[in-house]
Amino acid sequence: MLEYIISKYNFWVYVILLLIGLYAMVGKKNLVKKLIGMNIFQSAVILFYVSIGVKKGGATVPIFLGNAHAAHGHGHAIIDVASYINPLPHVLMLTAIVVSIATTGVALAVLILIFRRYKTLELDEIMKIRKETGV
């Protein structure tokens, strides 16, 4: 039982990071802290997806090296799928990383506009100012 838990520790770390990010998004009052929590949340999901593609037992990086059968000029190259790591989650997560940095950039721009208007980044102070001025 203990060995079963330890052998999947990547997934435990992924769950812990997901909950840390969720806590920072919900529990923290500073807006930059909320954004940092969102970044942690996203990278936890990316870590989960990359962990899915890992194969044990001598699987290597997915680069096709060619083989002896294809060298004769006829016949198709035989690819042993078990000797390569699954590249599909990697390709999906490349897009996810770029999207996450784009959302972070937009969020930081909105955050600077909020600071210019309310002169603070604490959510409770912003809500108090909004309630007092009615804007």
Partner: protein, 81 residues
């Protein structure tokens, strides 16, 4: 991958995540988030996802940290929680 190294990296990642959301100085929190991204990048390399690793190192740890530092320098550095 060597499982001891993998475990140490996972522990470092969790420590960096907790530190990034508890430190009251926002600039320090952002730099720790960059360190978190670099540890994550080493972990991806160990899993064989080399393309994801260098995208994470350049985009998330590089450009992301620069954007965060720029935004923090435009706004306030201290945080209440």
């Amino acid at each position: 991958m060597i499982w001891q190294l993998d475990l140490i990296l996972c522990i470092f990642i969790v420590i960096c995540a907790v530190a990034a959301i508890t430190i009251k100085d926002l600039l320090a929190a952002v730099i720790i988030l960059g360190a978190y991204s670099f540890f994550m990048c080493i972990l991806y390399t160990g899993m064989g996802a080399v393309d994801v690793a260098f995208t994470e190192a350049s985009v998330s740890a590089g450009v992301g940290t620069v954007l965060f530092v720029a935004a923090v320098s435009k706004t306030k550095r201290r945080s209440k929680d």
